[in-house]
């Protein structure tokens, strides 16, 4: 891990919806090649922040760069450098596996030959070679999830943003899913992931804890557990949430 170059740099990010402050002066760096966890209860402002970083939403104020590009006027370059997978499922159900991969490869400007060879490698790796012409609709949820992630990093982006990718998935599939994330990080892709599963937090290199639109803690899971004198991340979270006097469900 190269700790010296921040690939995402956020200074005083503020996002307001009317009077409601969804992101209150967020400041953090994400370094190249790390798995960065963005934690918090539902409604803490995680999704708002990730949408801003992906260019789906404009910040009210703040200085932000993603992959070295300014978020205000270099969105085109940013789009080419990132992958994105949302909590809503993002493959087309009425297309086959191969067609989905081809489509997403295509919109990221990959050449047809490239797509062909890459698809073969990917399906081989996922063990889905015999199912390439199956409609997504007919696949089990765990498969879809893995495919969706593989498609999100198919064009080999510098950063991949995952917005609660494992919500509604069983623990075994989640575990398998995290193996894919590790592999991607190992190949040099920076992973920015939001989640509200505290056990998942422990898989991250570093995590930032959000409560009510503010970052209340940012460190490696081990250090956070130490600092807050807790047995696991769940306890850390509960302590932090309580200390800011809010009623949140873990």
């Amino acid at each position: 891990m190269n700790n010296s170059t921040p690939i995402i740099r956020v200074r005083n990010l503020v996002k307001k919806f009317g009077d409601f402050v969804a992101n209150d002066h967020l400041t953090f760096d994400v370094f190249s090649g790390e798995i960065f966890g963005f934690l918090g209860a539902n409604g803490a402002g995680k999704t708002t922040a990730i949408r801003i970083l992906c260019g789906l939403s404009k910040p009210t104020s703040g200085e932000i760069s993603v992959a070295g590009f300014n978020i205000y006027n270099q969105t085109e370059q940013i789009k080419r450098s990132i992958g994105y997978m949302s909590q809503k499922f993002s493959l087309y159900e009425d297309l086959t596996i191969a067609e989905n991969i081809r489509f997403y490869g295509g919109i990221y400007g990959l050449k047809r030959k490239e797509i062909k060879t890459q698809t073969a490698i990917l399906l081989e790796k996922l063990g889905m070679n015999d199912y390439r012409d199956q409609l997504i609709r007919d696949l089990p949820l765990g498969w879809r999830q893995k495919l969706a992630f593989s498609v999100a990093i198919f064009h080999n982006p510098k950063i991949v943003f995952l917005d609660e990718p494992t919500s509604g998935v069983d623990p075994i599939t989640r575990r398998q899913f995290w193996n894919l994330i590790y592999e991607a990080a190992h190949n040099g892709i920076t992973v920015f992931v939001t989640t509200h599963y505290m056990d998942e937090a422990e898989y991250c290199d570093r995590i930032s804890m959000m409560v009510d639109g503010q970052i209340v803690a940012l460190d490696s899971p081990g250090k956070l557990i130490q600092t807050y004198n807790a047995a696991n991340m769940n306890e850390v979270f509960l302590k932090l949430a309580r200390s800011s006097l809010t009623e949140v469900k873990a």
Partner: protein, 368 residues
Amino acid sequence: MNRFRGFVRKEFHHIFRDKQTLLILFGMPIAQMLIFGFVISNEIRNVGIAVFDQSHDAVTQKITDKILSSGYFLLEYDIHSQNEIGQAFRGGKVKEVIIFAPEFARNLEKTGTANVQIIADASDANLANLITIYTTGIIQDYINKSNAQHSMPMQIVTEVRMLYNEQMKGVFLFVPGIMALILVLISAQMTSISIAREKEMGTMEVLLVSPLKPIQIIIGKVVPYVLLSFINAVTILLLGYFVFGVPVHGSVVLLLAECMLYILLALSLGILISSVTNNQLVAMMISAMALMLPVILLSGFIFPIENMPKILQWLCALMPPKYFITIIKNIMLKNTGLLYVWKETLILCGFTVLFILLSVKKFKIRLE
């Protein structure tokens, strides 16, 4: 460009995989044509009537025969008393009763006037109106012809010619109307649903994060429907021509160009609808309610605009299909060129630009 082609290919996959939509897409125009062409018509044929002949003479017999041999009417009952009139109507089969006064022929001979009463079942006002006009027409014709032998001193004979539609075929009016309806439905409804679906499924976000430009996404969504709608327009014209004998007197190129313009208008309307909603169902409801009823009721398709109250006439002026129907009727039936429909064409262009501008303004490039 490659990106764009991939996107359009994906859209076609969506359309062709969804058999139900496909059926609606291509089945609806044909079904509508046949329904409107064969079933709904303003022409009358074999309407049940009853005759209460109190005179029973040669003249009333001749008039009755003339009425029955016209093909418009069918004799259900001969009525013999006043009481039976009400019964005949209540039976439901009889829509009109013709009553000849007693001593009909003699009165006609002696005084030059004789009374015939026509009672119609006005629970269906339009039909009642039509059949009484037909009946009086036939009786008038009889009188005129018999008078010709006597050579009256003064006589005005009106000769009516129905220009552009000599046989008064209802289908001549329905073909342009159905085109206006089908094209707006397919183009606007299908695009609005397909964009709303992407939003609902969450795939729109992924598209917006990708290097695809929003304008490419929109155009990619629209291209397949331009093609399909165009095929539909041609299908309707061919059906009209070969099955119902609706001619195309004017320039086919101009006709198709105007269809294209109207399709673009409908598509931009569809995009506008989808920019207001994130939900397929809502998109469908809006396009059904906002498009279907006005097109049917306020475009002059079925009800003549000239007979509407002023306020409704103004409302009609805001309905793009109205202008399309005018254009199509002019080109198809009257062989007029662009010179005569440029105003309507310009209005359609104006609507299209307006809808595009509005939707560009509303289309949330950055989803909030």
